[in-house]
C-alpha cells in the first residue's frame, strides 16, 4: 500500500509525519534541529529518500541539511550522518551563498530599491525555499532572501547563483515586502526542462525559457493598489504560485490581494477571486488529479492576518477559479485566529487526493478526500512555516 510522508518546517524545528495510504494513523518524528527555524523541506522526486532542509537562525545564520533515508537521519552536505566532518572538507561551503557580481555575467548587480526609495546592497539572509530537480537527486535550487536563485549540482555541498535573474533590467526596482525581499516560489516545468517559474515578494513572477540563463517578468494583468502605475512590470507582492504538472502553461497565483490565473505561462493574468469572502491570503495549490480544482485559504486582510470571522475555511474551486465553495468539516469554525503561510499547503497524489496545510498556531490539518473532511494530524507544534508531502510506493 502506498504511504505518505509530510515534511513540516516550523519556527522551532522540523517534523516528519508519516502514514499509510489511509492517512488515519500518523507517526510523528521530531523535532529535528530543535530550536532552529526550518523555512522549508522538500524531497527529491528522483530519489524520495533524499530530502533537503533549510535550517536558519537569527543568531547563527544559514545551514543546509540533507537526509538520505527519508528524514530519519540528517547531515550537512559533504558530511556523513553521525560523523563530525573531516577538517577542511567542503561541508563548510554548504551554507555559503555568495551573490555573483562578476564581470563574466555581464551585469554585476549590487543594489536594489530599499523601503525609502534609495538603493540598498543585496545581502544574504536565508533560504526560503528548496526545489529539488525533477530528474537529478543531487541538483537542487534555492530561493533566497535577499531575492536570488541559486543552484547546487553536488547535493548541496556548493552553491552558485543563476545571475540572469537579478541581472534582468528590473532588478534595481525590486523592493522588500514586510517579510523581506524573498524568492519564495520555484516551479519546474515537467514538460520543458528549459522552463522554470519563480516568484519574489515584492517584485513579482518571472519565467525563464533557457534553463535559467535569462528571465523575464510575467506580471501583465496584475493590479496592485499600492502601485500607482496600473501596468507596472514589477513591484507586485506575489505570495505564491501553483501549477498542475499536466498543464504547465496554466498557473494559479495568490497575490497579496487577488487570486489570479494565467493560461499562457504567465504572459497574461486574469483575476479569478470570484465569490471568495476575501481574496487576501498566502497559500494556493492544485488538486493532484483535477487541474481545474484549486485550493486557497482566505485571510481577512493584510492588516489582520487571520481567517474572517474566526472561522478556518479552505475554499475549493472546481472550475479553475471564480466559483468557490467553503470546506469546513473538521476545521475550527469559531475563535480561530491563526494564519496559513505561503509554503504551508501541499497535496499528495494518492487516488483519493490528500490536502495538507499547517498554521501559525502549530496545527497540521489533513484531508484524505480532496478537502471534504479534515482532521488535525498534530495540534501543538511550533508555528508552521512550510508543509510538503511525498507520496511513496
Amino acid at each position: 500500500m502506498s504511504r505518505v510522508r509530510v515534511l513540516v518546517g516550523t519556527r522551532k524545528g522540523a517534523f516528519v509525519l508519516s502514514a499509510d495510504g489511509k492517512r488515519e494513523k500518523w507517526d510523528v518524528s521530531g523535532p529535528h534541529f530543535a530550536g532552529w527555524e526550518i523555512y522549508h523541506m522538500k524531497g527529491s522526486p528522483a530519489d524520495p529518500n533524499r530530502i533537503y532542509a533549510s535550517q536558519t537562525s537569527g543568531w547563527f545564520g544559514q545551514i543546509i541539511q540533507t537526509s538520505d533515508d527519508g528524514g530519519k537521519t540528517w547531515h550537512q552536505p559533504g558530511s556523513a550522518p553521525g560523523e563530525q566532518p573531516a577538517p577542511g572538507t567542503a561541508v563548510g561551503e554548504s551554507n555559503k551563498f555568495v551573490y555573483d557580481s562578476s564581470d563574466a555575467t555581464g551585469k554585476p548587480l549590487t543594489t536594489h530599491q530599499w523601503y525609502d526609495g534609495t538603493q540598498h546592497p543585496w545581502e544574504f539572509k536565508r533560504v526560503w525555499h528548496l526545489e529539488p530537480s525533477l530528474t537529478e537527486a543531487d541538483t537542487v535550487y534555492a530561493g533566497i532572501e535577499d531575492a536570488a536563485l541559486f543552484r547546487s549540482t553536488d547535493g548541496g555541498k556548493t552553491w552558485k547563483e543563476l545571475p540572469g535573474l537579478r541581472g534582468n533590467d528590473t532588478g534595481p526596482r525590486w523592493q522588500p515586502g514586510a517579510g523581506g525581499m524573498c524568492l519564495h516560489t520555484i516551479i519546474l516545468d515537467p514538460k520543458n526542462p528549459q522552463r522554470m517559474y519563480i516568484a519574489i515578494s515584492a517584485a513579482g513572477a518571472f519565467r525563464t525559457d533557457d534553463g535559467g540563463k535569462s528571465w523575464k517578468p510575467i506580471n501583465r494583468g496584475l493590479r496592485s493598489q499600492y502601485i500607482p502605475d496600473p501596468n507596472a512590470e514589477v513591484g507586485h507582492c506575489v505570495h505564491h504560485v501553483a501549477m498542475h504538472g499536466s498543464r504547465p502553461n496554466t498557473l494559479f497565483m495568490q497575490k497579496h490581494w487577488d487570486v489570479m490565473r494565467s493560461d499562457d505561462a504567465g504572459d497574461n493574468w486574469r483575476e479569478v477571486s470570484g465569490n471568495l469572502p476575501t481574496d487576501f491570503g498566502f497559500v494556493i495549490d492544485v488538486h493532484a488529479h483535477q487541474p481545474e480544482t484549486v485550493y486557497v485559504v482566505p485571510i481577512k486582510s493584510d492588516g489582520e492576518h487571520f481567517p474572517p470571522d474566526g472561522k478556518l475555511r479552505v475554499y475549493r474551486s472546481r472550475t479553475g477559479g471564480n466559483e468557490w465553495e467553503p470546506l469546513t468539516k473538521g476545521l475550527p469554525q469559531s475563535d480561530c485566529y491563526v494564519n496559513v503561510l505561503r509554503d504551508a499547503m501541499a497535496v499528495d497524489s494518492l487516488d483519493s487526493c490528500g490536502i495538507y496545510f499547517g498554521t501559525t498556531g502549530g496545527q497540521v490539518y489533513a484531508s484524505a478526500d480532496s478537502g471534504d473532511n479534515w482532521s488535525p494530524i498534530v495540534r501543538d507544534l511550533p508555528g508552521v512555516l512550510s508543509v510538503e508531502v511525498q507520496t511513496l510506493p
Binding site: 537562525s57 543568531w59 547563527f60 558530511s79 553521525g82 573531516a86 577538517p87 563548510g92 551554507n95 555568495v98
Partner: protein, 98 residues
C-alpha cells in the same frame, strides 16, 4: 591548547559536548582562534562570522577573561590566560528573541 566554549546550538551542530580544544599556530587572536576552530569544525563556517566579510554575526559576542572582545580588532592578541589555556575563549549568543 586553546579552550573555546560554544553556545549550545553550535555545540549540537559541531557534535561536541562541553568545551572544544584547538591548536592555534602563531599569535593567539580572535581571528586565529576562529580560523583554527572553523578548520577543525568546518560545519561552523558562516555561523559565527560571515563567510565573505568575516565580520562577527550580529547576535554573537566574544568574551575573554570576563572582558567583552566583540569590538576589538580581530588581530589583537588575546590575554595570556586564553593563550595558555587557563581560561576559555567564550562565544556567546545574545539573550534576545524567542
Amino acid at each position: 591548547m586553546i579552550r573555546v566554549e560554544l553556545p549550545q546550538h553550535l555545540r549540537t551542530l559541531a557534535r561536541v559536548n562541553g568545551e572544544v580544544q584547538i591548536e592555534v599556530q602563531g599569535a593567539v587572536t580572535v581571528r586565529s582562534v576562529l580560523d583554527a576552530l572553523e578548520s577543525s569544525y568546518p560545519v561552523l563556517r558562516g555561523t559565527i562570522r560571515d563567510h565573505d566579510t568575516q565580520k562577527r554575526r550580529a547576535f554573537l559576542r566574544f568574551f575573554a577573561c570576563q572582558e567583552d572582545w566583540s569590538h576589538e580588532s580581530p588581530d589583537a592578541p588575546l590575554p595570556q590566560d586564553i593563550a595558555s589555556g587557563k581560561e576559555p575563549f567564550l562565544i556567546v549568543g545574545a539573550i534576545a528573541g524567542g
